[in-house]
Amino acid sequence: MSVEDGAPKRRPLEHRAFVYGGMDHFLAVTEPFLRSGLEAGEAVVAVARRANLSALHDLFGDGAGIEWVDAAGFYRHPVRTLRDYQALVNDFAPRPVCALAEPVWTGWDERQTLEWIRYESLINEVFKESGARALCPYDSETLPPRIVDEARRTHPMVVTDGPPLASDAYVAPAAFGANCDRHRRFTRPDDAEYFAVDDADLHALRSFVAERALLHGLAQRPAQNLVTAVNEVAANAVQHGLPPVGMWIWRDGPELLCEIGDNGLWRPAPDALTGFIPPRSALQRGFGLWTVRLLVDLVELRAGWDGTFVRLHIR
């Protein structure tokens, strides 16, 4: 790392998609990538699907100084994965991180898939000043073409056979997220229950949510996460919004949904990045909404002419 004026100079993030076909192709690019990280003294992490991980591990062996991580355990919840990468970057600082980062694209429904695509885009924003290098393998032989197409929109550079090329299709994270949000629908079923939040004491609201979570069959941990998330959003609505403040709650298949609404206008209006950027500490602005995103499966914000609405999904 070059040092000028006594301060370490941070490179911008290098975030590349690697579109490959077959194991030989996979190894031909990922092996030199990891080796270059080791040679540069970077903190080298390999997160990949099991077959790819063990093939790489066979090449390098134990004691190479690479941290091996099974993608199946690492990619479970997009915002928590951002949190975990952030923790890696912080733990290794000032050493920059060199990460092979192969997401998991199986086992998700349509909306979860969209959130993982958004996650790939968010990496560009969250880690833009981290100095990290990330190579994200996309298996063109088994992944749906749409997933590979999206990778060209969420990575500024793409590697296939030759040298890395700038991706013509790349879209910056704020615009990309806004496009993800364009297809959201905010309908509410007629039989959604409504709970009016009349005063600043949120105890009754918490008890009500805990009871409904139990009825829905949520396990203890997600139930407590939901109660904590609802409390946070409602407290914000009481503090910053305009009455009436209230919550709708309903079930949608395996999901339990809570939507907290008030009559206020959220200004400055939230954008597609709001609550997705990890705060440095709990004292920083944005800690509340970031943490709400960690606690539940999905958070959707709507700041409209008719008020501010925050919808939480959990299962």
């Binding site: 928590r80 949190r83 949120l202 941990r221 407590q224 904590t228 407290a235 004292l283 943490t291």
Partner: protein, 107 residues
């Protein structure tokens, strides 16, 4: 709802929190933390007994994080007897945004 009670403890030095902690009690807790921390040498651990706490909101967690942060390079703020539900929430938040805070005696 059982309003938050805050009790000074001597061995180990710190506070015990009992009841529910939400935005209505942030100011009271912030003052109690400040007073108790001011009297404790920076090299001594500060313990919070959460065994009697029924709920903590994110603002409350941030206050505990603030207390740990305010000790800078001093000894950590230790959370004792953290109920399992609350432990799960704290683990989801992650220690990355709560430097200087850690679990002590289990529940």
């Amino acid at each position: 709802m059982e309003p938050l009670r805050i009790v000074r403890t001597d061995e180990p030095a710190g506070l015990a929190l009992i009841g529910e902690l939400d935005a209505a009690r942030h100011a009271v807790l912030a003052r109690a933390l400040e007073t108790a921390l001011a009297e404790l040498p920076p090299d001594r651990e500060f313990h919070l007994d959460l065994g009697g706490l029924d709920f903590i909101d994110l603002g409350g967690i941030a206050l505990l994080g603030d207390a740990a942060w305010s000790r800078a390079c001093g000894a950590p703020v230790v959370l004792d007897r953290t109920p399992p539900d609350m432990r799960a929430v704290l683990e989801t938040v992650g220690w990355g945004t709560l430097p200087g805070l850690c679990f002590g005696d289990p529940a």
